[in-house]
């Protein structure tokens, strides 16, 4: 089949960093050392016009802390008006009941709050912010009271992988219906702190076996994780239309100045959404093409699940080796 037939006409999701500024300095954050000009409200509206023209259905604001941009509500409102489905991830510090109501009123479809440990002191320490656990759980409650769908996001790491069932209970206690268990990425501070935070490949395998079994067993909470390295495990079903990492195939990332990268964890700019023709970037970028047609290298070359796994997470392989095609360092095979 022609390579172009396999890719969608445009991504389905843009993960959009409006600002790298943040009121926190978390140990695993990929973006604390990033510096980048921010665009004006008007320029962000122009971006939305491009996204709407390309019929991109979903945008998710991340960061940095999106609520540090005063015009977040206007930008989200404009995007909603243009037919996009808007969501965001926040650390919850600035999200009280008034803000929850404003988020709902400007059209947000869901808001995710990051909580990394069911233990308040562990979460606060990890996020280097005393009181952040309490503010985060209050944020979840405010969202629930406002009627806006809330989700919970946890980056799986050494501080929580043994007690992730307690994270599920925490989610239930705060009326969350979906929890994202993000795989640890070795980028930014996560790269610097990876010795302390990252699991060994064997620990990843054990964690994912339990997480897959739990996902299968429970029905009151949706557990979402998107980590291609689990393709070799029993119970892994292809819910995704693509094999391997979804970045560059289903999603792209926007930096605060309009630069496009395949994902927030791969610091390779493939173009600028306001300066370059979007379709040329999407269909012709050599970087995106390389990510879509990875070449099995190292142990992947003789691996029976390469077709599904595609070498695992491209961002992790790239962060640790500088080569998209190397095996994911989390791989236990």
């Amino acid at each position: 089949m022609d390579e172009r037939q396999e890719i969608l006409s445009a991504p389905l999701t843009f993960n959009w960093t409006l600002s790298y500024r943040c009121n926190f300095t978390c140990d695993h954050c990929y973006s604390r050392d990033e510096v980048c000009n921010e665009l004006s409200t008007a320029d962000n509206y122009r971006i939305i016009d491009v996204l709407a023209e390309q019929q991109i259905p979903f945008i998710n604001f991340g960061g940095g802390e999106p609520l540090l941009r005063d015009d977040l509500f206007d930008i989200a409102g404009y995007a909603t008006q243009c037919g996009l489905n808007v969501s965001m991830n926040s650390n919850g510090w600035l999200l009280d009941s008034k803000v929850a109501q404003r988020l709902r009123d400007c059209g947000f479809k869901s808001v995710g709050i990051s909580i990394d440990s069911p233990e308040p002191t562990v979460h606060d320490q990890f996020r280097n912010m005393p009181g952040s656990f309490t503010r985060a759980t209050h944020a979840l409650d405010s969202l629930a009271d406002s009627g806006l769908k809330s989700t919970m996001s946890s980056v799986v790491s050494r501080i929580n992988y043994r007690c992730f069932q307690d994270l599920l209970d925490l989610a239930r206690d705060h009326h969350v219906t979906q929890i994202y268990l993000h795989n640890f990425k070795c980028s930014g501070r996560g790269f610097k702190n990876r010795e302390n935070l990252d699991l060994t490949p064997e620990e990843w395998q054990t964690f994912y076996r339990e997480a897959l079994a739990t996902k299968e067993r429970i029905s009151d909470l949706i557990i979402s994780f998107d980590d291609p390295v689990i393709a070799s495990l029993p119970g892994y079903q292809h819910q995704s239309m693509v094999k391997g990492s979804s970045c560059g195939k289903l999603s792209l990332h926007l930096r605060p100045n309009g630069d496009i990268t395949p994902c927030g964890f791969i610091p390779v700019v493939v173009g600028n959404i306001l300066k370059d023709d979007f379709e040329t970037i999407w269909f012709e970028s050599p970087v995106l093409k390389a990510m879509r047609s990875k070449v099995a290298s190292g142990k992947c070359a003789s691996c029976s699940v390469f077709e599904d796994c595609q070498g695992g997470c491209t961002a992790r392989a790239f962060a640790t080796t500088g080569d998209f095609n190397q095996p994911d360092p989390h791989c236990w095979k």
């Binding site: 969608l8 389905l12 259905p57």
Partner: protein, 104 residues
């Protein structure tokens, strides 16, 4: 008469480039059944419809009857009307059962 309507919770999009590729392939006499031309996202899960399915889906706007949809498509495809009608009905009934369409 039934006027099928798309479930408003489902986010969908026509894959423009793939749709035109499928039309070209059809013109050239190739089989296009496996090529997804409409993407649907329902409860976070993605699905794809092929050319004919996608064209039916596009027309399920709650205003057109199944007959109207068949009439519309009969102009696009070189198939006997009875066969087309049967295929469209099976497809629509399947989606009604899944809850992706309602009887508008």
């Amino acid at each position: 008469m039934k006027k099928p309507l798309r479930n408003q919770e489902i986010v969908w999009r026509i894959e423009k480039r793939r749709q035109s590729e499928a039309l070209d392939a059809l013109e050239a006499g190739r089989d296009v059944d496996e090529l997804g031309t409409v993407t649907l996202i329902q409860a976070g899960v993605m699905h794809q419809l092929n050319l004919v399915g996608g064209m039916v889906w596009e027309r399920c706007d709650g205003h057109r009857t199944v007959e109207d949809i068949v009439d519309d498509l009969a102009g696009e495809f070189d198939v006997e009307r009875g066969v087309l009608k049967n295929d469209v009905e099976i497809f629509i009934n399947d989606l009604l059962q899944k809850g992706w369409l309602t009887d508008g």
